[in-house]
């Protein structure tokens, strides 16, 4: 029972992570980029929770709480930056924001 839960959970986490990564790479809007990041973080969190359930340990859920806190902080900073960028460039296209190149 736990074996199946474990496998399904990890597969789901993998799918979510891949979706997040793909949308991070294909989306050009900064808001969507942030959202894809959120998806990837949650995929990682899901993997921790599944692993915690498999070995009956609380650690997985503790780490997930950490990830949530970090994600919240990241979104706060990220959204603040997005607002600044929009004010300055009148655009949220990440490809347009390529001034910092080697």
């Amino acid at each position: 029972m736990t074996e199946i839960l474990m496998r399904d959970g990890l597969v789901l986490a993998g799918i979510l992570f891949s979706l997040g990564l793909v949308s991070l790479l294909v989306r050009r809007n900064l808001i969507f980029v942030l959202m894809s990041l959120e998806v990837m973080l949650n995929a990682a969190g899901l993997a921790f929770v599944v692993a915690g359930a498999r070995w009956h340990q609380a650690d997985g859920q503790v780490v997930f709480v950490f990830i949530l806190a970090m994600a919240a902080a990241e979104v706060a900073v990220g959204l603040a930056l997005v607002v600044q960028i929009y004010r300055r460039f009148k655009s949220l296209d990440v490809d347009a924001l390529s001034k910092m190149r080697g």
Binding site: L21, L25, V94, D95, S98, M100, G102
Partner: protein, 622 residues
């Protein structure tokens, strides 16, 4: 008194340093005062020291003053130490005294030159290095002075550096003497390796204790030191640099390339005479080099047009006499000839400088003439020096010293009738080319008109040197006696049917024959000398001797051209090509990597994703 010894070296060094640092800001008068004054003081102190040395001879007739330890590494501790004995005292006296007169002369001679202070800085540095060379108590310090005089010689030959030919002459002198220096350095390595010291006295003592007569070590080191001496003293086969060295200012030629530096080789051999006595083969080589050089250079001197080149070949030839004397074991005779030669040859060069200056840089003796009346002081002093060089019998210094060498080339235990014949024939040649010069320059119809006359600063040294060109001959007995404490006496073995008086008569006869032919060809019937040059054999010999027996040509073909050829082939140094490749590869990587820095967020994210996948794959599957 003897404690002042270090000042003899220190004063010229100090004035050279002052002139190098502040010379351009000094007035000409101040420059001359510093440059000439330092050498004058040095000469005065030398005389004081000499007086102290003679009045109260130190124990074992030498005085050593150790200033400090130069290096101290693994049992090798050469010192900055000065050693005064009869040999170095005589040499230092001549160097400072003649050097002072030449400096005095240059104060006027160079007055219009823009490099006035530079000239005196180099000259003072030269005198300082030369004294270091002479007073050094170990061979390493001697080497320092040896290289120092070589450097100054280079700097002064190329003094008028705007003319590329002068620079070429300077480089030639430096490189050719460097060949000899390399041999000398190898000799020093060998000596240190086997005897464990470079301090000259210890070295000589240990060499005579450890090496048997004719041991291969003694032969090898003596030959290597001879190589150094041959380079510095412009002897066969490295004599080619000296005639070209005449590109430098005339006082330089007088001081460096006639009176002092070129006799450093003679000093070196006399200093290390123990080694040469242990190696009869090497000593024979010394005599052979001397005899060969004196003849070859004598013939070349006969054909030169340039007054300074005649004197240069004559210098080579006279140093050949000194080498001949060293080679047959007549050590003291070599030093005696050094002494007289320093006076009369410096005088000849200074006289030539007066003439060249007076005739507005005219060097060719065939465009001169009739200067007897125009430049009386130069004429009389030049005549005295010329007679001394040619060996006017029983009066001049040159006769006594040369005759002594020729006599001992016969009578000494290493002597040989062949050497004697070479010496006598060389005396004939000397007389011939000297009077050719004098008759062409001072007699006959007036050539180039005189535009400038020398002042007192130039004529006084001439007169003093002329005085010594005669009087030095009478120093023969005291000088030889004085040198007995350092140099072994000559052992006379072959007397045969020849006595010293008869030998003197023969040398005097050689002088007269030379004088007669010079008169015939260059004053009496000048058409005869032209006829001689026109004749096919004569013209061939003339060209051959004029070109210094083709040594330059051979060296050009054998060494210079292959070297330039190799340098041209390897212009893009193949070792460099490898390193240039590494640099190019790095730059390629840099360009490739900098292209990936697009500034696009998604591109970076993709890079990170692919990278982490790759790393994970490596961890999992490898």
């Amino acid at each position: 008194m003897l404690k002042l010894l270090w000042l003899i070296v220190a004063l010229p060094f100090a004035s050279a340093a002052i002139l190098m640092l502040f010379g351009p800001r000094f007035s000409r008068r101040a420059t001359a005062a510093v440059g000439v004054g330092a050498i004058g003081l040095s000469a005065l102190i030398t005389i004081l020291v000499a007086a102290g040395f003679l009045s109260a001879p130190p124990s074992d007739s030498s005085f050593t003053q150790v200033l400090w330890t130069w290096i101290n590494v693994g049992g090798f501790d050469p010192q900055i130490g000065l050693r005064l004995d009869a040999l170095s005292l005589v040499m230092v006296l001549v160097v400072t005294f003649v050097g002072f007169l030449i400096h005095l002369y240059s104060a006027e001679f160079m007055i219009e030159d823009e490099g006035y202070s530079r000239f005196f800085a180099y000259m003072n540095l030269f005198v300082a290095s030369m004294i270091t060379l002479l007073l050094a108590d170990n061979l390493l310090l001697l080497m320092l002075g040896w290289e120092g005089v070589g450097l100054c010689s280079y700097l002064l030959i190329g003094f008028w550096y705007r003319d590329p030919a002068n620079g070429r002459a300077a480089r030639k002198a430096f490189i050719v003497t460097r060949v000899g220096d390399t041999a000398m350095l190898l000799g020093l390595f060998l000596l240190f390796n086997d005897l464990g010291t470079l301090e000259i006295q210890h070295l000589m003592q240990r060499a005579s204790e450890r090496w048997p007569l004719g041991s291969p070590y003694a032969v090898a080191t003596a030959l290597l030191l001879l190589g150094g001496a041959v380079g510095k003293s412009a002897q066969l086969p490295l004599q080619v640099w000296l005639p070209d060295a005449m590109a430098g200012p005339t006082p330089t030629s007088a001081l460096i390339h006639a009176a002092t530096m070129v006799t450093a080789g003679v000093y070196l051999i006399a200093r290390t005479h123990v080694l040469f006595s242990l190696a009869p083969v090497a000593q024979f080589a010394v005599a052979l080099v001397g005899a060969g050089t004196l003849l070859l250079a004598g013939f070349s001197a006969l054909t030169q047009h340039d007054i300074k080149r005649v004197l240069a070949y004559s210098t080579v030839s006279q140093i050949g006499y000194m080498f001949l004397a060293l080679g047959v074991g007549a050590w003291e005779a070599a030093l005696f000839h050094f002494l007289t030669h320093a006076f009369f040859k410096a005088l000849l060069f200074l006289g030539a400088g007066v003439i060249i200056n007076a005739l507005h840089d005219e060097h060719s003796i065939f465009r001169m003439g009739g200067l007897r009346k125009e430049l009386p002081v130069a004429f009389w002093t030049f005549l005295i020096a010329g007679c001394s060089l040619a060996g006017l019998p029983f009066i001049t210094a040159g006769f006594f010293s040369k005759d002594l060498i020729i006599w001992e080339a016969w009578s000494a235990n290493h002597g040989h009738p062949g050497f004697w014949i070479a010496g006598v024939f060389g005396a004939l040649l000397t007389s011939l080319y000297t009077f050719r010069l004098i008759f062409r320059v001072f007699f006959g119809p007036v050539g180039t008109p005189v535009t400038k006359r020398p002042g007192y600063a130039m004529t006084i040294p001439l007169v003093i040197l002329a005085f010594f060109s005669i009087v030095a001959g009478y120093l023969k007995q005291p000088l030889l006696g004085f040198l007995d404490s350092v140099l072994p006496p000559t052992i006379a073995t072959h007397t045969g049917g020849l006595t010293e008086i008869r030998c003197e008569a023969i040398v005097a006869l050689a002088f007269v024959i030379g004088l007669y032919f010079a008169y015939l060809f260059h004053l009496g019937k000048r058409s005869l000398s032209e006829a001689l040059v026109q004749n096919p054999v004569g013209s061939m010999l003339h060209q051959w001797w004029f070109a210094g027996w083709g040594f330059d040509w051979i060296y050009e073909k054998v060494f210079v051209e292959p070297f330039i050829w190799a340098a041209q082939i390897n212009k893009s140094d193949f070792v460099d090509a490898f390193y240039r490749g590494v640099a190019q590869l790095t730059e390629l990587f840099y360009r490739g990597l900098s292209r990936t820095q697009t500034g696009r967020l998604r591109w970076y994210a993709a890079g990170m994703a692919v990278g982490s996948v790759l790393f994970l794959a490596m961890v999992l599957f490898l």
